[in-house]
Symmetry: C2
Subunit: 449 residues, 2 copies
Amino acid sequence: MANKRRTSQTKAVAAPGRAADVAASAVPVKIALLGFGTVGSAMARVLAQSKLPGVVLTHIYNRNVERKRASDAAQCVPASVVWTEDFNDIVNSRADIVVELMGGLDPAEGWLRRCFAAGMSVVTANKQLIAYRGATLARLAARHGVQLLYGASVAGGVPVIPGILQGLGGDRIVRISGIVNGTCNYILSHMETGAEYAAVLADAQRLGFAEADPSADVDGLDARAKLCILSRIALHAELDPNAVATQTISTVEAVDFAYAKELGCTIRQVSLAHMDAKNRLVHARVAPMLVPLTSPIAWSRGTQNMVVASGRFGGDVVFSGHGAGGEPTAVAVVSDILAVAHRSVAVQLPVHRRAVTGELLAPQYLRFVVDDRPGIVSGIAGALARVGANIDSLLQRPGYPKHKLPFVITTEPCLTSTIERAVVAMAKMNCMLQPPLCLQILALDDKAE
Amino acid sequence: MANKRRTSQTKAVAAPGRAADVAASAVPVKIALLGFGTVGSAMARVLAQSKLPGVVLTHIYNRNVERKRASDAAQCVPASVVWTEDFNDIVNSRADIVVELMGGLDPAEGWLRRCFAAGMSVVTANKQLIAYRGATLARLAARHGVQLLYGASVAGGVPVIPGILQGLGGDRIVRISGIVNGTCNYILSHMETGAEYAAVLADAQRLGFAEADPSADVDGLDARAKLCILSRIALHAELDPNAVATQTISTVEAVDFAYAKELGCTIRQVSLAHMDAKNRLVHARVAPMLVPLTSPIAWSRGTQNMVVASGRFGGDVVFSGHGAGGEPTAVAVVSDILAVAHRSVAVQLPVHRRAVTGELLAPQYLRFVVDDRPGIVSGIAGALARVGANIDSLLQRPGYPKHKLPFVITTEPCLTSTIERAVVAMAKMNCMLQPPLCLQILALDDKAE
């Protein structure tokens, strides 16, 4: 049954192209690292264990550097490395590549500008910096004849950015969607089994998957920065991150997963951007959404990330994997280091600034918690009718008390602003024990085969 | 509930890096196309509709070129294009890039050598040529200072090759697995619903998803070539395609899907290669395998392709999308054209020739069809015991006739050669109405979060 054959030859094949030059080069590419935290120490470990030819770590900057130097994580760092807490040592280090893993806008931006001016390329995982200042910094790098790579800034170890730049440049990507925040995905994929938000968040904090102040993650600000970077790469659209609509996941409750399941869906924090037909306006949103179980976006579990690039010619392309954690993110950083070391310049198509709107046309999920009494459905239906939204289904699961009754209405596709007007009106009804929750239902439109 | 803001600025942002140079260049990059079939005409359509700056199609070669020129597909081809059936016209075309979409080893190899010698870079989707002759041709291209790109040779429009080269160079990929043959995936994912192989194959042939002679697809030769290309890219291991073990999907029956389902699995043609611990020997195999429903590989439907790169540092990274069809494949071709046009050189790590074996350690699925009588299980158990294979489970679904009874035994992990010795012995038992079917059960070993 098996057509199995074996061979045993083992001989060297000369490396094609430029690799041989880099490997054989007498002068190694020197790396200076800013920030010896989780990702920085993982990067040092990957470099040490991979023994990449032609790449050598020479400097590490960190505040309170002696504490870092004495840590277990520092054991993989070669003795030749210079540890410093003075950034001037980095500027004067004669490094070829500075790896920035500090995060934040300040002082990172100013420091990177000084690196460019000193002729050093930069590899960074700093999503906020790249979302807000990436276009400006890329121009500055080009002016100084150096590179700025940021493959690690979105989806950690999943090569979404290089995959789109090098592999999908020939398509016209019209929509980018997916899961780019591991913390929210951890929380929501664990809530699927019936746990409440607060309990899962507390677990996530204990396990190190969520910050003490989780707002940047759960309110969508982290994902928003990544969505703006993806818009630049995939839609060639430069967005103002502050203008991208966000909705917190913190108002999603266990009961919503029960209702979502009845609708053949689960709930995920989805980041979504699509270009309008005229190629002028980007519709973008970061929000918890109902995702059909048949969508790849529903399959991500735990801290996994997943990005779907939808092209006019190639249809949906899915990238997924470990979106967080030291070593996966370090893989993206080291891959970018290799790209600079091999003088590999990515395909860069022209990018244009685009206006952004949170308006999306989609079916909507509305969950109410009411003190049950006659006339509630009639009142809700009236509010929907007044904005012109059509009810698609009404779901009421058994087993809840009448005085605190959760139930769900779904609508046919309507605009975000339309349903929000209805929600504002409905929230004023006396029976409502809490504000109604409105979640967009994600539509699937890729046709396999 | 929603924090939605809008802006309306729309201003141009200068393109970062090299793109502006290419776009602004007065001299466009000239493309000559070999082969105006499904992918070739889709490529012409994508080029025409995308209006890529700085890229122009100048020549098309095809046999019986007048028939092609008169076809509907030719309507998107600019009037300025020179159509020819003489390859010398291509060599003399002064094209910068020759796109080879003819397929096969001969005359493609000789023609590409002439293109390199004439100073032309080559973009190709030719998997057999790249699997068998890719390393040699890449060296030749480098010697002539031109590029050879083949992103379209594996998984059509899914950017596996550029994603791995540019985005996972910093990892040490130890295993590559997935679905790279759309025809087999179409057949097997349709058999899930209970249809028999022959009926689904006939459907696939009618719909154009399978060739009149389907053997290259169903017997694994197409997937084997792609697996060898992926081994070169991901494992940095050059394999002899003829030495890679293959097993046909044509012996899988509807009943196997029913039993697979009881085991929490489905069946897919899986291409699998992993590097041994000493980095010397590659274990590789193309075969129908039982795939756990929790694996991403089980999720691919229809002609979708999916490749999982498993890295030592970054864990599993999944790429999926449309693996076949004119336009998805054309996206990969045009992306490679852009890479050459932008003088983007991929990261190339050293590749070494490696020996290959079909030996894999895995649990096994054995399906028998017997004329039921006493002593059969005892005979099978004895054959397994003699090779040292342990039975894990015995499944017998009700409702089949005793004189033609299909039943299943699964084993604990054992080597391919071990189970094959047992199968040879069991096939000789008088009760067997057909040779036993043995399928490897794919193990999952990536831990999300």
